[in-house]
Amino acid sequence: MAEKVRCISPVGIADVVKTFPLAPRLDKIDGKNICISICGEPDITIALEKKLKNDYTNVNWLLKKTYSLYPIGLTDEEMKTTDAVIQGVLW
């Protein structure tokens, strides 16, 4: 009979993750404070910013823009007043 072997798992240990619901969505866009959070891809994000501001003139747009790989976060004060965030293209 073939000899039996037992093998040690080389696989890393994943933590249990608590998952959360997404934030409730907006009832409407007009009149809201929405942040356009931009990282990289200016070909897309320049066009995105222009179209958002042209098509949704009743929104208070807040622009956070960086060329780096990581977004510029909302400040604590801005977290209190911002209604939504559009993040692109890196994150």
């Binding site: 093998c7 080389p10 890393g12 320049i46 949704y56």
Partner: protein, 480 residues
């Protein structure tokens, strides 16, 4: 993704724009951040921006206003599938088949990828083999791999004793799991301290743009375990060099969960992702030239693993023809002498002058320069009595006009779109004239010299070992 998770948890709805081929990575990191159902719109890699935005603008707005589904409202717990110590019980034939399984990865791979290996055959990590491997360290099998000193980690400062989170899934590992990976790579027990030092680096795999990783041992350990620091040290043939280096990828796959096309998105990959481990020839260092260990703040009699986690502009080398370097140094003849204007003059000459003009043609950044002992000696005899003297000279050579510096690609990121202040002058980038001289190398001490190799006069150059401010030196002695 942690930022988006923070916003969603604070009650601020978000929508992410990214490319379709990144979808698996988005989903994985969203799950790890506790928001598995993040809303996500695909942009195009091909369409011009205005046309692209037109195709998905409605989906952006829908993502912000369409009410949540039942799934998106769920609070829950994600439990990993299995964390058993043993992964297989059965015959050896069955174990071989088990560890050599593949899984099909769809676009952007469209091919089977090994589940537990680097694609090459491995040594099955039986209990007996792993127990034998563990004799190579005094650390306990069930000990979680932790940082052995305070340092800057990938996400900020970490302290001695903090668990190492293996990239990209931020999993942890026991010493025994590292030993299992070492068995798989073909290591011997005496190699385990080096492998644990590599593990301490998190086995970072970068994302879309990297040329791979590279490893170098400095200190007495290299000779103790029979590493090659001589002829062919970067190539195949030496068991210690090859198997220790190989563990990087085996650990990245298993301890970090790195899967090409899922969360390991280097578009082409590279031979450096093999990975290679060589050793510094400390006996060949000219007097006054520090070893890599000393440059890392260790003593000459201490052993360290230099982990270069992100070779970011390839490798170049072999610029000299056979005999060309010798003719240049011995009697000032040949192409190198013609270029440097020393025709007919015996050396020692500064051979780096021949290479420097090409260092910053394609890309900015300091360099790691690997050179054979004779070439190191020539630099010393020329007048560079310390490695620091070479680094400072190289840094000065790296200054180029701003009009040329602007033509690199990465500088748009590093300068934040030229919106900030140039660090040396203190002036705004946009105020500076085209002929203002900017260093293409970030810092004199981001250069690194590695002395090793055989007698033939060859140098290889690759990118700086400093990346994102991470300290690349890991103590091997701490893991004995």
């Amino acid at each position: 993704m942690p930022y988006l998770a923070k916003l969603e948890k604070a009650g601020i709805p978000t929508v992410l724009i990214d490319f379709e081929d990144q979808a698996n990575m988005v989903q994985q990191t969203a799950l790890r951040s506790g928001i598995p159902h993040i809303r996500y719109v695909h942009a195009s890699r091909i369409l011009p921006g205005p046309q692209d935005v037109d195709t998905w603008m409605d989906r952006i707005m829908d993502a912000l206003v369409v009410p949540l589904t039942d799934k998106e409202k769920e609070i829950g717990t994600w439990v990993p599938t299995s964390d058993d110590r043993l992964i297989f019980e059965g015959t050896m034939d069955g174990a071989e088949k088990f560890f050599h399984q593949t899984e099909y990865v769809p676009h952007p791979v469209n091919a089977p990828i090994a589940r537990y290996t680097d694609g090459l055959p491995v040594r099955v990590p039986t209990e007996e083999r792993v127990a034998e491997m563990l004799k190579g360290t005094s650390h306990k099998p069930d000990e979680i791999v932790t940082y052995q000193s305070d340092r800057r980690g990938w996400n900020g400062p970490v302290k001695k004793g903090d668990p190492v989170l293996f990239h990209p899934m931020n999993w942890t590992a026991t010493v025994e799991k590292v030993a299992a990976c070492a068995v798989m790579a073909g290591c011997q027990p005496e190699h385990l301290p080096a492998v644990l030092a590599i593990a301490e680096s998190t086995c970072y795999i970068a994302s879309t743009h990297t040329f791979g990783q590279w490893l170098c041992v400095s200190g007495p350990y290299a000779k103790e375990v029979g590493m090659n620091s001589g002829c062919g040290m970067l190539g195949p043939g030496n068991i210690a060099n090859s198997t220790i280096g190989r563990t990087y990828e085996i650990m990245a796959r298993n301890l970090g969960g790195a899967i090409p096309g899922i969360n390991r998105m280097t578009s082409l990959g590279s031979p450096f992702e093999g990975s290679r481990c060589c050793a510094e020839n400390s006996d060949a260092l000219p007097s006054g030239w520090k070893g890599i260990n000393e440059e890392g703040g260790y003593r000459r009699d201490e052993s360290v693993m230099l982990v270069h986690p992100h070779v970011n502009d390839g490798i170049r080398g072999v610029q000299f023809s056979p005999g060309g370097y010798r003719a240049f140094q011995k009697s000032g003849h040949g192409g190198i002498a013609r270029k440097l204007g020393v025709k007919g003059k015996p050396g020692p000459h500064n051979w780096l002058e021949f290479l420097v003009p090409e260092f910053w043609i394609g890309r900015e950044g300091a360099k790691t320069i690997i050179m054979n002992p004779e070439m190191a000696r020539h630099l010393y005899e020329y007048g560079f009595k310390t490695k620091e003297a070479v680094y400072e000279w190289l840094y000065k050579q790296s200054f180029i006009p701003l009009k040329d510096y602007r033509n690199y690609s990465w500088v748009d990121l590093h300068t934040n779109g030229w919106l900030g202040i140039e660090p040396i002058s203190g002036k705004h980038w946009k105020e500076l004239p085209d002929d203002y001289m900017v260093p293409a190398a970030e810092d004199p001490f981001a250069f690194c010299i590695v002395v090793g190799g055989g007698d033939e006069e060859v140098s290889h150059q690759l990118s700086s070992h400093h990346h994102l401010g991470i300290n690349p030196y890991y103590s091997i002695d701490a893991w004995r």
